[in-house]
């Protein structure tokens, strides 16, 4: 029996290829996803796993909670705390760590690493165990710096070169005194690291005399826990927190895996869908294999093979196909995983470097999926095969079992769809994150429901295409009727496309709508020509605004400054602006009162006003960071948006209470409006600083758009996969149909339908099936896009549904193309059918 099964596998090469391809694609998708996510999460893990082997216990400052009228403060790790730490009996040594943002420019003045983890730090003393020097010597003062060997190599820097750096705005041009290596994962992942001597680092990062962290090493024989206990006793509890190196490593690992889980789940959902669709294709293929072999299998039964043996022979065939496909699919999947990463990289996403990770889990999953799914998908047709009566071998008229009624299926489908729609609609009325889970559940229910209902839906939807098909005469008419002949098969085929297009359309609708709302926001709220900010979202030195203000063409500037405060026992963030110019730079809609900012006069957004019960003219008392209190008056209430919200007050009022004023961004208005020359002028005035972004409104919305574009591009890549699977499915179905109808095709040829007519008939059938899937998918996608938008809209004032008609037309065209392409081979086969043989093959 095994030999028979094997012979069968190899007897029909084209058929074999198609089956293997179908399974292979499913496996490739799953394993590609796993490889990709493992690789990325491993790389992220490494990038944040900073050499904990140098740390036995880390001492970090305690942050107080905001209480009453006081804004919680972060304690400072002073030199004396460092000295105390080093003095505990179990400590071998203690070093102070200072961190900050440090952008390094390459020789062309461009930022290295695209702002991704551009870090700076301190080199401790004369020999820092964390950073072994490769060449050169320890830096001293602001004019000297060390850079890591990877960055040096990438940018071609050597000891003695001058390098352009920026910490918080102003440009520095220190000399490289040395190059070091580090096990810092951030560097391994593509980030850069610049080291100054400790005093310089403290000054540059605005932490004069203090440290971000104190790393204590234990003496030989002292455990981490013992050292921690000693330190806890020695150091004041309310200012510091101690953590062992092990704990740090553990909590970090946990944080990373949870931050990766979203992406991983998203990709696995795709893989699951691919597999789901793949299963149908495999089942379809085996149904076809069995159909083609009815006589052969019946003959086996007639000469004495038991039912079980027939089933087993089909299953063995499936097993062989599954193994071959799983192995090739795994290989393809590894390729996909690697390709996906470089694709993301080339699209501008920051993806950490690292080796390709192929875990035994991935291999196991790929093989299990390939083999088990194939065998499972083959089991049903296999059982059907066993039921073929031996007499079928003799009889020419044996017809496959009549299709079961669709009543149960339709009822079930209607229940699922109804529940899905109800849940999704209910979710749209909820707010933001509350609605997410029900929305997801509803979406899944609805997709399953529609999936079950597709056979029912195929008739009316395809009938709707009749007027168009009539143009093609008999071929069109026959194509339409053929496509609804086996609704289950048509449905399974169309579903592959449907699911892919549902996801992609939904995402496109959402992204398009979000984009529109962001454009509107950027356009409506800001009158400034440029917004200047730090590449990594850090704060700018107040120097930046001063420099910008000195440019001749600049007519108005205002920084946006953020400061926490306590009002009525709650934490509120204050936005500090230049009161005299803010009116020229923003265009906020005033709901009531007047827009007057200066002295104790402030404006507040509608949400804050409502939550505190303020109106124009209300007064309130604010407690600043430094604990001082002040009475402020609300002059007006404006409509807040994502860019500008909260309480706006004059910097002259706010800054005296801030220990270290820094700007989130600076808005600039120029006499020339936006132009390339003006932008150049601004950039030059800031020292052509790699770390500072000068953006006009278009740049701003483009930047946000980039995020969506990246996400969409990734999805489109995955869609390509789904389309490939769908093409295979359509080819399969058509080949099966052509085979089953060869007698009819022969007859049609005999009574006068030419080859072109036959080919057109097959092509049109394919087109109809694909467009059916496309229309369903796009329809569902629009529904989901709308529903998700309703959910988002509750937290995004300017949200507005935008239907991307052009994109949708492209998707439909894509579905049509899939139909035409997939029909090429089956149509050719049908056209070439020998009509005499076809008529006789009863």
């Amino acid at each position: 029996m095994f030999r028979t099964a094997l012979r069968n596998v190899f007897a029909h090469k084209a058929r074999l290829l198609m089956t293997v391809l179908a399974v292979m694609l499913g496996v490739a998708f799953v394993s590609g996803t796993l490889v990709f996510t493992n690789t990325i999460s491993e790389a992220y893990q490494k990038s944040s796993a900073k050499g904990f082997d140098q740390v036995d216990v880390a001492v970090e400052p305690e942050t107080q909670e905001d209480k009453g009228d006081t804004v919680g403060k972060t304690a400072e790790l002073t030199q004396s705390l460092l000295d105390e730490s080093a003095r505990v009996p179990g400590a071998a040594s203690a070093i102070g760590v200072v961190n900050g943002f440090t952008a390094i420019a390459d020789k062309d003045g461009k930022l290295i690493g695209g702002g991704f983890q551009s870090q700076g730090g301190n080199y401790w003393g004369t020999k820092d165990a964390r950073y072994p020097l490769v060449s050169g010597q320890v830096p001293s003062g602001a004019g000297e710096v060390l850079i890591d060997s990877k960055t040096a190599k990438r940018a071609g820097y050597e000891v003695g070169d001058t390098v352009r750096l920026s910490v918080d705005g102003p440009v520095l041009d220190p000399k490289i005194t040395g190059i070091f290596t580090t096990d810092d994962g951030n560097v391994a992942a593509g980030g850069s690291l610049a080291l100054f001597d400790t005093a310089t680092a403290q000054r540059l990062f605005g932490k004069t005399g203090t440290y971000d962290q104190i790393d204590v090493r234990a003496k030989a024989g002292v455990s981490q826990a013992a050292l921690k206990a000693e330190l806890d006793k020695a150091l004041p509890k309310d200012t510091v927190e101690t953590t062992t190196g092990q704990e740090l490593a553990d909590s970090q690992a946990e944080m990373i895996s949870s931050s990766m889980s979203g992406l991983k789940q998203g990709l696995l959902v795709f893989a699951g869908i691919a597999l789901f669709v793949g299963t149908f294709i495999i089942a379809n293929t085996f149904t076809m294999l069995v159909a083609q072999r009815t006589k052969e299998l019946a003959l086996l039964r007639a000469v004495g093979a038991s039912r079980r043996q027939v089933t087993r022979s089909v299953l063995i065939e499936a097993f062989v196909v599954g193994v071959v496909a799983a192995v090739t699919g795994l290989a393809a999947g590894i390729g996909i995983g690697a390709g996906l990463r470089s694709l993301m990289g080339s699209l501008g996403a920051t993806v950490p470097d690292g080796p390709l990770i192929i875990t035994p889990g991935t291999v196991g999953a790929a093989l299990a999926v390939g083999v088990l799914v194939t065998m499972l998908a083959a089991w049903l047709p296999g059982r059907r095969a066993a039921k073929i009566p031996p007499v079928a071998a003799m009889s020419s008229l044996y017809a496959a079992a009549t299709t079961k009624s669709l009543v149960l299926r339709n009822t079930l489908g209607a229940l699922f769809s109804g529940a899905g729609i109800a849940v999704v609609l209910a979710a749209t009325t909820m707010s933001g994150s509350d609605g997410q889970a029900p929305m997801g559940l509803g979406a899944v229910l609805l997709i399953i429901g529609v999936f079950i209902l597709t056979p029912l839906l195929s008739r009316p939807l395809i009938a709707a295409a009749a007027p168009v098909l009539r143009v093609f005469g008999v071929s069109g008419k026959l194509a339409r009727q053929n496509s609804v002949r086996n609704p289950r098969r048509t449905a399974a085929t169309a579903s592959a496309l449907m699911i892919g297009l549902t996801l992609i359309t939904g995402m496109t609708v959402m992204a398009g709508s979000l984009q529109k709302s962001i454009d509107k926001m950027a356009a409506s709220a800001i009158k400034a020509d440029y917004v200047v900010s730090m590449a990594n979202g850090n704060e700018l030195s107040p120097d930046v605004e001063k420099k910008l203000g000195r440019i001749d063409d600049v007519t108005a500037t205002s920084p946006l400054r953020n400061a926490p405060s306590r009002i009525d026992g709650e934490t509120e963030y204050l936005t500090g602006v230049t009161g005299s110019t803010i009116g020229e730079l923003t265009d906020l809609k005033i709901d009531s009162g007047a827009f007057k900012v200066g002295g104790t006069q402030v404006v507040v957004d509608d949400k804050t006003a409502t939550s505190h019960g303020w109106k124009a003219g209300s007064g309130f008392t604010v407690s600043y960071e430094d604990g001082k209190k002040q009475k402020l008056t609300v002059t007006g209430v404006y409509e807040g948006n994502e860019m500008i919200q909260g309480i706006i007050l004059d910097n002259a009022t706010l800054s005296p209470h801030q220990s270290d004023p820094a700007d989130m961004q600076v808005m600039v208005k120029t006499s020339d409006g936006t132009s390339g020359a003006t932008k150049d002028q601004l950039e030059k005035a800031l020292g052509s600083n790699p770390a500072i972004k000068v953006q006009d409104k278009k740049d701003l919305s483009d930047e946000i758009a980039q995020m969506f574009t990246l996400m969409l591009n990734m999805l489109y890549g995955l869609l390509a996969m789904a389309v490939l699977v769908a093409v295979l499915g359509v080819i399969n179905t058509l080949a099966m149909s052509v085979f089953e109808r060869s007698q009819e095709i022969g007859m049609l040829r005999a009574i006068g339908l030419d080859r072109r007519g036959i080919k057109r008939m097959v092509r049109l059938e394919s087109l109809v099936i694909c467009l059916f899937g496309g229309v369903l998918g796009i329809g569902l996608g629009v529904f989901f896009g709308w529903a998700a938008g309703e959910l988002l809209g509750s937290s995004l004032a300017t949200y507005e549904l935008v239907l991307p008609w052009a994109r949708m037309a492209v998707f439909l065209l894509l579905a049509a193309t899939v139909g035409v392409l997939a029909a090429l081979w089956p149509a050719r086969r049908a056209g070439r059918l020998n009509m005499l043989a076809a008529i006789k093959s009863e």
Binding site: G473, V474, K477, L748, R749, A750, I751, G752, L753
Partner: protein
Amino acid sequence: MTTASIAGRATAVAARATDLSKIYGQGETQVVALDRVSVDFRQAEFTAIMGPSGSGKSTLMHCVAGLDTFSSGSVRIGETELGSLKDKQLTKLRRDKIGFIFQAFNLLPTLTALENITLPMDIAGRKPDKQWLDSVIAMVGLADRLGHRPSQLSGGQQQRVAVARALASRPDIIFGDEPTGNLDSRSGAEVLGFLRNSVRELGQTVVMVTHDPVAAAYADRVVFLADGRIVDEVYGPTAESVLDRMKQFDAKGRTS
């Protein structure tokens, strides 16, 4: 060994094969299916082609009907020489000039009886001649079954649809390949009756391959084939005379 004689018969010829040969394979494995066959099928005549299995009777019909290619010789349908036609022209010829009735009923299951009947004209993009169509449908007695699909019809009814389809486009000649092979004797008799009526009353030309002497008896003429050659023909056959002639083949087959 006689070649079909046309002497004394003045009626026009609907289809003619001259020195028609069909050879499969080459050298050692060469099989001669038709060996220089010459035969005429006259208009308004019902011809049956008979012969033992492997005699080439089906091959002869397929070649004359433009369903199969031949090795040498010539075939004419009316004034058209088939040997020089490309597939596309052959298809057009079959569509416009020839009607077919096959053994397996060969209807499209998705079409209704009426749609099946008008299928050749649909393919050609022609409107059927309403009056003619009605008379054909009336003749085969399907008037109340036109909206049914083949699966809702009995075997006999299905074959009557096939007969109506062949007649509906008024072809120059109708070819039947064992049209009663899958029918019980009563349904078979009905179908043969229709074919004979179409010849007698409508002046249709019909050529039918059969191995059933009873079916052959409906024809005006029976042509006997053996080993790829025409060996005899009988005019005005009866079931008995055909059976007797067939028995000679059997005897010959056993002795040779």
